[in-house]
Amino acid sequence: MGILNVDNVSLKLSGKQILNNVSMDIWKGHVHAIVGPNGAGKSTLASVIMGLPGYRNHEGKITFEQKELNSLSLDERARLGMTYGWQEPARFEGLSIHDFIAAAAKDKSKQSINAHLDQVGLDPEKYAMRAVDKTLSGGERKKVELASILAMDPDLILLDEPDSGIDVATLEKMFDVIKILKEKGTTIILITHSLAVLKQADHAFLMCHGQVIEKNTADKIIPYFENNCMPCPHKNMPDIEEASS
């Protein structure tokens, strides 16, 4: 039994089948990747797992630490120890980075919050009192989100397209943080279509057309993804049998 179990989850949105009998076990303390082309259903699955509004009317069962999540709202799931990092995190006019992080931090002391900013490469002197608003670059905003996640110290983190909109240096910093979290025993799920991100994972689930078409260690998935999915001209319609063989 993993920390998170997704059991035959299906979801239709506006009459269209987005997820089709998706099952997966997520192992505690490991880094997992849910990988696949655009439109494969990866982010939808993450939204379903996290219980975002509009994504709770699904079939199948999701359990976290053996507790069924289906009836729980987004914040109730978060308080169980799960969190979600958006591909493009929201901006907040007037809300300081310090207050944003402190709002959900286990240790709300200035010292602790500054330490988390340091961990993600943001100088607390320069950033703690800046607003989480449009004046931050995409990379800075993602680092703030990571600092906030570090301060929350959750058991499981879903990171949606963590490499989206950031430069190489920021991506390297993000990978460092993923290593820190893994060393602490945090379970991480990376939602991605990037080979660089996939390489950070221990295990991977290859999704296409709303289905999981392969589950394996990341090093076994990487060659298939690299050779078949990345050049695939029909990104959402691969040959499922070929992938499974």
Binding site: M50, L52, P53, S73, L74, D75, A78, R79, T83, Y84, W86, P89, A90, R91, F92, E93, G94, L95, S96, D99, A103, A104, A131, V132, S148, M152
Partner: protein, 311 residues
Amino acid sequence: MSVPTDLTSELTKTAKIEDILTNPDVAHLIIHHHKVTSSHLLPGLEVQTKEAEDHIDIIVRLKENTILEKPVHMCFGMLPKDGVQKLNMDIVIGKNASIDILAHCTFPNGVSIDHIMDAKIVIEEGAKYSYFERHIHGDLGGVNVYPTAHIDLKKKSHFYSEFELLKGRAGLIDINYSVDCDDDSILEMLARINAKGDDVVKINEIGNLNGERSRGVLNSRVACRDNAKAEVKSVITASGSYARGHVDCTEIVQDNASVNAVPIVTVNNPKAHITHEAALGSVDSKQLQTLMAHGLTEEEATDLIIQGLLS
């Protein structure tokens, strides 16, 4: 009316500015009802007051080239639960002078209070006048606030005003400001109000960008909950060549509250330019979900978003 004997102490304690009374480097003026209870001036700053039964006249003059490094604290208020405070203000900021005023309007026990301010302000060429007005009200919602001001901005002068009511009930806030801007002058006005219960907020701000290269920004941030109502009318007219104006209204509506925002922008000169943006409605869903994914309840997340917006 029962009034505590040490009015200055009570007012400044409520406004959390007791330390200014003993600081010789900081000018202050404390007025309870229509009576000056304490004042301290600095060179270049002249204040004359005339107390009457039903109002107080306040004449403020800042001499040319006087730069006051530290903010001047003005505390206007009433400690009883009812009454009327009417302030008639006549302010002239001399050429190239600069002053920051922190006004603490303090009505902690108000049940039926009218706070009326009628101000005429002239900011001479090259001068800078900043007026931050913080309201401290109780939770009873019985304070009616009527600030009316006409500001005359001369060449290259700068006027900044901020109206803040974040704690306690707004009651009725009825702001009427109009500003005439000469060449190269700068106008900035911001209102930040947290309204709840059956509070009513009316903001009527007018900026006339008459001068060449004059610039003006009218900002409002109002959060309305429960049955509160807000009407925000922001008017900018650009007549001067190269005048630039902007209106920005962001108002949050919760529960049974309602907000009506009317930006009116007029350009009378093809070389002038005005923009406006308005966002009215509930809290942004992505902001809400981001904070809820961090474990905050919807109510906690909403409070934090509003706190940020009004900060």
